[in-house]
Each structure stands twice: as C-alpha cells, then as structure tokens.
Symmetry: C2
Subunit: 143 residues, 2 copies
Amino acid sequence: MTMNTPREIFANYISKQGLRNTQQRDDILAAFFSSEKHITVEELFSVVKTKNPAIGYATVHRNLNLLCECGLADEIKIGKQKARYEPKFGQKHHDHLICLRCGKFTEVINSKIEKLQDKLAEENGFMPVRHKLEIYGICRECR
Amino acid sequence: MTMNTPREIFANYISKQGLRNTQQRDDILAAFFSSEKHITVEELFSVVKTKNPAIGYATVHRNLNLLCECGLADEIKIGKQKARYEPKFGQKHHDHLICLRCGKFTEVINSKIEKLQDKLAEENGFMPVRHKLEIYGICRECR
DNA sequence: TCTAAGATGATATTAATTTTCATTTTCAAT
DNA sequence: ATTGAAAATGAAAATTAATATCATCTTAGA
Ligand SMILES: [Mn+2]
Ligand SMILES: [Mn+2]
Ligand SMILES: [Zn+2]
Ligand SMILES: [Zn+2]
C-alpha cells in the first residue's frame, strides 16, 4: 500500500493513533498545503475560515501540532515571534535566510556546511540530531 | 579614554543615553558577569537578591535588556523556552551545541562554516548581518 | 442503530514578558 | 548643599502566544 499524498499520510497517521478523521482536519490540511509557506496559526486560521467559517482557532492549532507529529509539518520559532509552520513533503532539509527588513524567508541548502556541522559536533563528542541555521540580513529586494 | 571593564562600558552607555546610574544596575551587572552563562532572568533575579534583597524582578529584566542594547549581553531564545542571556565581553562570536537530554550548552566556533555561510548568503543576493547556528543532539556525558 | 471515545469550538488558563504607576532616587543647575 | 525635573524602581497589572477545559457534537466500530 503506497501512501502518496499528504492527505493520505495524515489520514493514515490519525487512524493508526486511534484518532478520528474529520472534515476539519481535511480542510486544515488542504489549506495548509496550498498556502504560503512559513505561515502562523492565525494566518492559517484565516485561510481555513474562508472554506469553513465555523472552524475554531484551537482546532487549527491542535491539528498543526498533529501535522508536525506525523512529519508533514515543521514548526519554526524565530526569536519571540509567533510560531510558523511549513509543510514538509518530499522536501529536503533546508536552512533559512531571513530578511530583517521585510521578513522574507529564503530557503537555502549547502551540503558542505551540513557536513562541517556534523564534523564540528563529533569533534566535541556530541551526537548531532538536528540543527537550525538562520542567517539574518537584508534581502536582494530590500537593499 | 579607555573603557576597560564591563562596569565602565555599562556606566558609560547609561550616561550617554541620558539615563542614570544606580546601585541596582551595578548589582545586576556584577551578578551577571560572575554567574553561569546562559542564565534566565529568573535565575539572575535570584542571584542578585542575595546581595540586594529589595531588588525587583522588573528591574533585572529591564537592565538585562539594557545590557543587550549596549552590547554586553546576548539574548538566546531556544524554541519556546524562557529567554537566556550570556555575557559578551572580549569574546568572539560562537555557536552552540545544545544537549536534548541535559540542556547543556557547548560553545563552538568554526571559521570554515562561518565563511561558507557568508558565501551562501551572498550567492543569494543577501547581505548577512548575523546568524544563529544551533546543533541539537546528545552531549558526551549523556550518551 | 447504538454508544463509547474522540473532536470541536468557545472560553478560560497559563506562563513569560512587558507595561503601568505611585513613589523614590539621581544628577545637573543653582 | 539645595532644588527640582526626569528617570528608575518595585509591586502589581496587562499583554500575548500557547495550551487546557469542558459542554456538546461527531466519528466509527460493534
Ligand atoms: Mn522553509
Ligand atoms: Mn554561549
Ligand atoms: Zn527583505
Ligand atoms: Zn547532555
């Protein structure tokens, strides 16, 4: 049994956990995967409401957490800002360039840096699990 | 006029800003620079109270912010945890290895990574200002 | 169909941070 | 040294994002 779409992966995770599939979950997932990346709970709540005006904020919040649990989303915390979420599906790990002026996230990947990070950790007797590299500065459009 | 100690730097910054030097500022700075690094407001508050039992939490909080402003402290936010602060004085930039089990911070620096980060930013038309690299994993003592 | 368990949505709570405000303190001008 | 305007302090309140509560509704298996 191949599980192709995020929708299938989510429904499958929900079932396996003894939880229940609902229209709300479906609405939230659909909105999440068709919205801008790096979205806040509040922003996603607004989007979902256009399709399902009865949806509650708490439901969006809870289901974003479930999406993180099942590997379909990543939470991104920048300083004291509200948590942001990005869909994760058939997508490699990446780091972020974050514009101090407009807030734009640019996704970047550099395998040389990744390897050096692992080496650095190991040199310190440290077993790396995950990492977070954020470069803050001024983006092309803002300078 | 050379400004040597953090104490002098702080007093100087306060004066230049048209603010006023107080005993509380002195107590807070002294405690901050003689405590463990990566301390929370609450922890520093406890330390300062042993020397000055009348000190208020808000005063410690406000002065940690001033210390950040004048470059004598850095705020470190890890996920949803309380903010931590580290003294910054005659000390190079460094990154952190953070143990997922015991929470220990290990300070590391790798100039090769630093250079590659700048290169990566520039390749994307991005002018880097600062960055944050945190490697999460299991420290030597915890594995 | 029936029902136990889970989900939802409105609201309340939590916890860290920041603000308010009455009072005290600083410090430059006298 | 005295004065007084402006800033600092400390206690308490407000703010804010995140999370929990709970009455009601819905799901899904028997
Ligand atoms: Mn991203
Ligand atoms: Mn450090
Ligand atoms: Zn920008
Ligand atoms: Zn450890």
